[in-house]
């Protein structure tokens, strides 16, 4: 309760309001402080009072053989994951709880979510309400069942103050290219910082997977907790609705030069990894892959296997893996040589096969964090480019919708 009161003070709230659920990120091991904290809670007899899902942990509990790091870290990581379970949290271990039917809050519901990509998705795509909660605060809110009545829990704070308009030079074909969305997210995070923004100029009805990729990248390059996309997100049927009838602080236009520069920065491999550059690893599923994305991997493989020596790994939630097992999809993917990772992610756990060659990803977030976290050079591309590159063992590029500078 003291932590929730501290949160209320920092956010300037005058009262607390009840929540219907929580998503807790504190179960990922970052050293002994994270264990000391939860053991203090357990010692005090704490238990969550609302349905609470858990974020990724340090280890894949279902496939422990994939761990390639120090066994002591794995043991502490596993202990921490179990400790949160003993507080009454559900062992979902996914960074994309919004892809689990049972954990998806309805429009307008008040919740306490941590994990930066989940926070953005919750506010922006579901229209449920959470502040930008972090470790420790998440579980404190889950135990008390209360959050400060402040920030994004309140309607007025959900109004866009930045309008980000796509430039006239962005070609229509690029708007239907998966690789645009993480890049747009990187630009949005830099432009918006922690402000609520609205993107104008995208086609209506953008699929969830693209909004997920956009939000995850924006929460990596900035402190974005909510964005609107006119015609796609529920609080932005129109630009005026997203602005709640007020004038924006800033209108920014994003042109191809800025988008291309952001895309190029996501690739850290030497010379921008031109077509034909060898790749050692392809990592997909950050945030965790949806069933639609798992099916897309199978479709793009079209019966082919990754080239000899190339690892193709997809991270997903254990609940979705179960569904994929039931429809036979998981078995077919494994038969083609695809590795399926659950409960954790390939840039926080030492699971990738060591390789001197660069790793390819379709995730802006993975491209952003993996070089520092696991010491790889990164090549960024769309899901199709990633899968085909895995098959060829070399960077393969799709029809170029980005144009030349």
């Amino acid at each position: 309760m003291r932590l929730v009161m501290r949160a209320a003070e920092v956010l300037g709230a005058e009262r607390l309001i009840p929540i219907t659920g929580a998503h807790v990120d504190s179960c990922l091991y970052h050293g002994e402080a994270t264990v000391d904290f939860v053991e203090r809670l357990i010692g005090g007899g704490a238990h969550v009072s609302v349905p609470t899902t858990l974020n990724v942990g340090a280890v894949d509990l279902l496939h422990p053989e994939l761990w390639r790091g120090d066994p002591r870290t794995a043991e502490r990581g596993r202990l921490l994951m179990g400790h949160y379970r003993s507080l009454g949290c559900q062992p979902t271990y996914t960074c994309a709880p919004y892809q689990l039917a049972a954990a998806r809050p309805a429009f307008g519901e008040q919740v306490a979510w941590a994990e930066s990509n989940a926070i953005v998705f919750c506010n922006s795509v579901l229209g449920a309400r959470t502040e930008r909660y972090g470790d420790f605060t998440d579980i404190a809110c889950a135990i008390t069942g209360r959050v400060p009545d402040a920030g994004l829990h309140r309607t007025d704070a959900r109004r866009a103050v930045l309008v980000m308009r796509l430039g006239a030079d962005v070609p229509a074909a690029l708007l239907d290219d998966d690789s645009l969305y993480p890049v747009l997210g990187i630009v949005l995070g830099r432009r918006a910082g922690s402000r609520v923004s609205v993107i104008d100029g995208l086609p209506p009805g953008i699929p969830e997977e693209r909004l997920k990729a956009l939000g995850a990248a924006a929460a990596s390059s900035g402190a974005v907790a909510m964005f609107h996309a006119v015609g796609s997100t529920p609080e932005a049927p129109t630009l005026e609705a997203a602005l709640q009838g007020t004038e924006p602080e800033e209108i920014a236009e994003v042109d191809m030069a800025e988008l291309r520069a952001a895309r190029d920065e996501l690739t850290t491999a030497t010379a921008g990894a031109p077509v034909g550059t060898q790749v050692g690893t392809v990592s997909l599923g950050t945030p965790h892959a949806s069933l639609a994305e798992l099916r897309a991997v199978e479709r793009e493989l079209a019966g082919a296997r990754p080239a000899p020596g190339v690892e193709l790994l997809v991270s997903t939630a254990r609940t979705l893996l179960e569904a994929a097992e039931e429809e036979g999809l998981a078995g077919r993917l494994r038969a083609l040589g695809v590795e399926l990772l659950v409960d954790t992610c390939s840039y926080i756990a030492p699971v990738l096969r060591p390789s001197p060659l660069p790793a390819m990803t379709d995730s802006g977030k993975w491209a952003f964090y993996a070089p520092a976290n696991i010491g790889v050079e990164v090549v960024f591309g769309s899901l199709r480019e990633c899968v085909r590159s895995a098959v060829e063992g070399r960077v393969w590029r799709d029809t170029d919708h980005w144009g030349t500078a």
């Binding site: 920092v10 050293g31 002994e32 000391d36 930008r132 420790f136 990596s220 900035g222 402190a223």
Partner: protein, 133 residues
């Protein structure tokens, strides 16, 4: 100068004025305090014992844990001065104090005040939010 207290305490140290926002998770090694974000202009510098000055925040909700772990490991910054309030860092400091009895004051100051702090300057933070150079 006086800031809004997000986590209280007294501290002294040399300012490390960040040119770009930094996510502690994925950006700092909680065992050494070194900045490991390869894209950050101050990659390689250490935050341990410094008065961290950051105009805006970004990134991961795990940064609370990384700050608490840095406190445990003895490599936390002496204090954190922010241009916008941030719950994630405030709570990391609160937990670090609760578990290990070490206070890392976290203050929110006006951006103009933050900009008046030169990199490397000796900064004192007093309980209640007063900041002197």
């Amino acid at each position: 100068m006086r800031g809004t207290v997000l986590a209280d305490g007294a501290a002294e140290g040399l300012a490390l004025v960040l040119d770009e926002p930094l996510s502690l998770w994925g950006g700092v090694d909680p065992g050494s305090g070194a900045i490991i974000d390869l894209r950050h202009p101050q990659h390689g510098a250490t935050i341990a014992g410094r008065v961290l000055v950051m105009r805006s925040v970004r990134g991961s909700s795990s940064s609370s844990s990384v700050l608490a772990e840095a406190v445990r490991a003895g490599v936390a910054p002496a204090a954190i001065l922010l241009g916008e309030p941030d719950l994630i860092l405030a709570v990391g400091a609160a937990v670090g104090e609760e578990l290990y009895g070490v206070r890392v004051p976290v203050l929110h100051l006006a951006v103009a005040q933050l900009d008046s702090i030169p990199d490397g300057a000796a900064v004192s933070i007093h309980e209640g939010g007063e900041v002197t150079l």
